[in-house]
Each structure stands twice: as structure tokens, then as C-alpha cells.
């Protein structure tokens, strides 16, 4: 019946939901704000975590908000400690397969490689054009069900 057609349409049109997260003792949130706005302008629904969150808080927020994307912004150099905790937490809830985990900030190449092996989909360094990040999300957002 008609409703099925309507539902199929709404499924396609479902906005991409993103959690933009600041973890740990890192008070630099300009980048997180800029990316939040860029995502919003791209038509995504963005939930911003606020500053100084623990990895467990990020996992809890990602699960409750049922987001498609978790974008972690870290400029403090603590990515090797904090990011795996978020990834593991998502895996514990069985949410990792449905979530695109992105990392933004200053991350050395070697670390980026290791983190990508651990489950991070992509690492975006300084100077990455917003359009590139938005495009990456559009192309790689996990399809559900």
C-alpha cells in the first residue's frame, strides 16, 4: 500500500546523525564547533558533547542518541589512550559496526595507522577541507538493517 512507499522514502531521507565529541583534558573546541556547523549545514543532525568528557560518556551518548557517526576531536596528544576506549566501549554495546568513528586533530601518521587498525574509519588532520570530511561521511555512513 501507499504507506510502504512513503516509508521507503523517509528511510532514504533520514538525516545522518553525528556526535561531535571532545574527550579528555583538552579545552580547544574551535575545531569541534567548526565541524559541527559544517555538518549542520550539510543537513546532518549534530549532537555536541561539550568539553572534557570521559570516553565512557561519549559511548553512552553515542548509544542513547543512536548516532551514525562519532567524530572525536583531540588536540592534546592523548588519542592513543582515549580513542581506543571509545571504540572498545562501542563494541561492548554492539554498536561499533553501525557507527562510523572519525578522528580529527593532530595525530602523527604512525598513530593514525594503528588507530585505523583498531576501528577508526579515518583521521583528518589540520587543513582538511570541510567538504572532504562531509563527503567522506556521506560515502561511508553505515547502512542499517
Amino acid at each position: 500500500m501507499s504507506a510502504e512507499q512513503g516509508q521507503a522514502e523517509s528511510e532514504r531521507d533520514r538525516p545522518i546523525r553525528c556526535l561531535v565529541a571532545k574527550v579528555g583534558l583538552d579545552g580547544h573546541d574551535r575545531g569541534a564547533h567548526v565541524i559541527s556547523r559544517a555538518f549542520r549545514d550539510a543537513g546532518f543532525e549534530v549532537i555536541y558533547s561539550g568539553l572534557h568528557r570521559a570516553p565512557e560518556d561519549i559511548v553512552q551518548a553515542a548509544v542513547q542518541e543512536d548516532v551514525d557517526v562519532v567524530g572525536i576531536s583531540i588536540l592534546s596528544g592523548a588519542h592513543n589512550t582515549l580513542v581506543p576506549k571509545v571504540v572498545e566501549g562501542l563494541a561492548e554495546y554492539g554498536a561499533l559496526a553501525d557507527t562510523l568513528v572519525l578522528l580529527g586533530g593532530i595525530v602523527p601518521d604512525g598513530d593514525a595507522k594503528r588507530l585505523k587498525e583498531a576501528g577508526v574509519a579515518e583521521v583528518f588532520g589540520p587543513g582538511t577541507p570541510m567538504s572532504e570530511t562531509v563527503q567522506f561521511v556521506r560515502e561511508n555512513v553505515p547502512t542499517r538493517r
Binding site: M1, S2, A3, E4, Q5, G6, Q7, A8, S10, E11, D13, R14, P15, S36, R37, F39, R40, D41, A42, G43, F44, E45, V46, I47, Y48, S49, G50, R53, A54, E56, D57, Q60, A61, V63, Q64, E65, D66, Y93, G94, A95, R145
Partner: protein, 355 residues
């Protein structure tokens, strides 16, 4: 998603699995296939949660106050679900849902479930999506559900109407806020809160609000001082008194959300209102009128879908609109024509019933 998977999802939600709850809310928010069966399955498990709606103008301190209220309920050992509705851009449909930032009490606590919702792009209306999300939280066993929204328009008013108790937040010294209240929100508030009560002008705002609420109370209340005559007047007075006992007069409270001052009073007022609804039987009235509104909304939406499909089958609205624009036909004829099969089916049904 299959019916079996849906049943499993509902089972997990009822078991208190947060991810199943989150998924269910996404399902109802997106009206994804089969969501109706999910809501139907949940419905029998709802009705236990106390639902509070919080509304007010942007910057009034809603999220901060809700955070304090959540903390208060948690200290009392109650679990709390929060639905925070934020506006979205009318241009891109995107939104930054920022309420979570101000909800510090929620972090690391499984007894609190916070869900942000964008105010746009809901087929069938935001209030339907919110009401269904409230049902999911209720069924998942949360003792309290708080729905928070910017009180800007009819949409938002409809949203808070899904609550048992509506709290309206005002900030001091803002004549504009009180103007806004005149425009309709005054009628829906069960509890009024002047937040940021440590600022100048708070006492004035409280006084203004109380005055406006007096007026809202109607003539019955202001006439009380005039009795004393005999006969008919006395009888009328008795009636008035009875009405008064039944009538809830909304309290005006003062809070400072950033320090938590007055939050206990607010929680108390919310419970008082709930008790009042129970004792006067109005809880049932409200539930009934809510159900009626939900049924009507669903029917409107479903018939609109049917008609939309029929329109598509006939080549879409563009084709007929073209003919109307060329003056080949007129809008009424087109509408009658499209609805003819519906009308015929209904006529047949009525004839069957009459026979």
C-alpha cells in the same frame, strides 16, 4: 526489518537494553517500516511514568533546569528519561542539538537516558514522534520522563501537551516573555517558573505572572469577595466554591538553575499537580483527550498518505495542477474526482451498516 526482529527489539527494550531503546526511538522518529507494530507492542507496557513537559523561550535556562531536576529525581532513586527537542535549520534541515552539553548529571549514569530530537522533518508531525518516543521510555521502565522544548510555536505547544504536567519557564525582566505567554502558552502551563531568580527584576516578573494568572482564572475566582446575599446568590456561591476546589491554580515558583535553588520546590509542585489530576479524575480526562488527539492525527496522516498515493498513480500533482492553471478544470473538481473512490467506499460501508 522483519516482524521477528521487531519482536526481539521490543523484548530487549522491555529488558532495559539501552541500545534497543535508542533504536526504537530512531524507528519511531524516522517512521521506518514496521514502527507501528513496535509502538503497538509497547503500548500495553506504558502508563506508569510521570511525564513532565518543560517549555520556555530560548535562553530561559530550560536545559540547565532540566539537568537539575534530573539530578533531584536521581538522588531520590528514580530513573529519568529526557527528550530534548531542538529547532533545526529550515534551509538545510540540519541541526546542532546542544542540550546534551548542559546535562552533566546524565553522564555515566545508566538511570538517565537523554535523547536529542530535531524539530523538523517528521512525517506526521513532531508531536506524534515525541509522543511515541515518550511511550518507548515509559515502556522501558523509566519512572520519570521529561520532554523539553523551545516554546516558540504551535508545534512545540503540541509537544508539551503530551505531558501530564507542563512547566513554563520565564526569565526575569523580559517583558517580551510575558507578551509571549499572552499569546497562548499561559493557557497550557500547570506550573510557572521564573528562572534566574537571582537577577534584577525577578520579583516583578513573578508579580506580573501572578496577575496574569489571576485573570486567566476567570471571573469565578475574582467574584468570591462579592457574595453575602441570600437565595440564588448563595447557591451560586456554593457552585463556585466547588469549582474552585476542583480548579488547579498554577503556582509561580522561583529557581536559580545554575545553583539548584528552588529545584526541590519545582519537583514538589510537579507532584502536587499530578496528585491533583489523580484526585479530581482529570488524569483520566487528559489521557482520554490525548488519545483522541493522537487518533485524529494518525487518521489525518493516513488518509493523506492514501490520497497522495492515488495522486501519484494519476501522474502526480504537477499534471493536474497544469490543467488547473490552464483553466481546463478547477481545483474543486480535481479534488472531488480524486476523492470519488474514497467517498464511494464510505458510502457503500454506510449502506451496508444501514441494511
Amino acid at each position: 526489518m522483519t516482524a521477528d526482529a521487531d519482536r526481539a527489539l521490543v523484548e530487549r527494550l522491555l529488558d532495559g537494553d539501552p541500545r534497543a531503546l535508542a533504536r526504537t526511538i530512531s524507528r519511531v522518529e524516522n517512521r521506518s517500516e514496521g514502527y507501528r507494530d513496535v509502538v503497538s507492542a509497547l503500548y500495553g507496557h506504558t502508563g506508569d511514568a510521570s511525564v513532565v513537559g518543560v517549555t520556555g523561550s530560548p535562553g530561559a535556562g530550560k536545559s540547565t533546569l532540566v539537568d537539575e531536576l534530573v539530578g533531584y529525581y536521581r538522588d531520590d532513586g528514580e530513573t529519568v528519561g529526557v527528550i530534548a527537542v531542538d529547532p533545526s535549520s529550515p534551509y538545510t534541515g540540519g541541526a546542532v542539538l546542544g542540550d546534551r552539553v548542559r546535562m552533566g548529571s546524565a553522564v555515566g549514569d545508566e538511570g538517565v537516558f537523554v535523547r536529542s530530537m530535531s524539530a523538523r522533518g517528521h512525517l506526521g508531525g513532531l508531536s506524534t514522534a515525541t509522543a511515541d518516543a515518550v511511550k518507548a521510555l515509559d515502556a522501558a521502565g523509566f519512572d520519570r520522563v521529561v520532554v523539553e522544548t523551545v516554546g516558540a510555536g504551535q508545534n512545540e505547544v503540541d509537544v508539551v501537551r503530551t505531558a501530564d504536567t507542563v512547566v513554563v519557564l520565564v526569565q526575569p525582566g523580559s517583558g517580551d516573555d510575558v507578551q509571549m505567554l499572552k499569546a497562548g502558552i499561559l493557557e497550557i502551563g500547570d506550573v510557572f517558573v521564573v528562572n534566574k531568580a537571582d537577577l534584577d527584576g525577578a520579583a516583578r516578573t513573578v508579580a506580573d505572572l501572578r496577575e496574569m494568572l489571576e485573570l486567566r482564572g476567570g471571573e469565578g475566582r475574582t467574584r468570591v469577595g462579592h457574595h453575602g446575599a441570600v437565595g440564588v446568590a448563595d447557591e451560586r456561591r456554593d457552585d463556585e466554591n466547588e469549582d474552585e476546589d476542583d480548579e488547579w491554580s498554577p503556582p509561580v515558583l522561583e529557581t536559580v538553575a545554575t545553583t539548584g535553588d528552588g529545584v526541590a520546590d519545582l519537583a514538589g509542585a510537579v507532584d502536587d499537580h499530578r496528585d491533583h489530576l489523580r484526585q479530581t479524575g482529570r488524569m483520566r480526562d487528559r489521557a482520554r483527550s490525548r488519545a483522541a488527539a493522537e487518533i485524529r492525527t494518525l487518521l489525518r496522516q493516513d488518509t493523506a498518505d492514501l490520497v497522495e498515493a492515488e495522486l501519484r498513480r494519476r501522474g502526480g500533482v504537477e499534471a493536474v495542477a497544469e490543467r488547473v492553471a490552464d483553466r481546463e478544470t478547477d481545483p474543486y473538481t480535481v479534488a472531488d474526482d480524486l476523492l470519488a473512490p474514497v467517498q464511494a467506499a464510505l458510502d457503500r460501508r454506510q449502506a451496508d451498516d444501514d441494511a
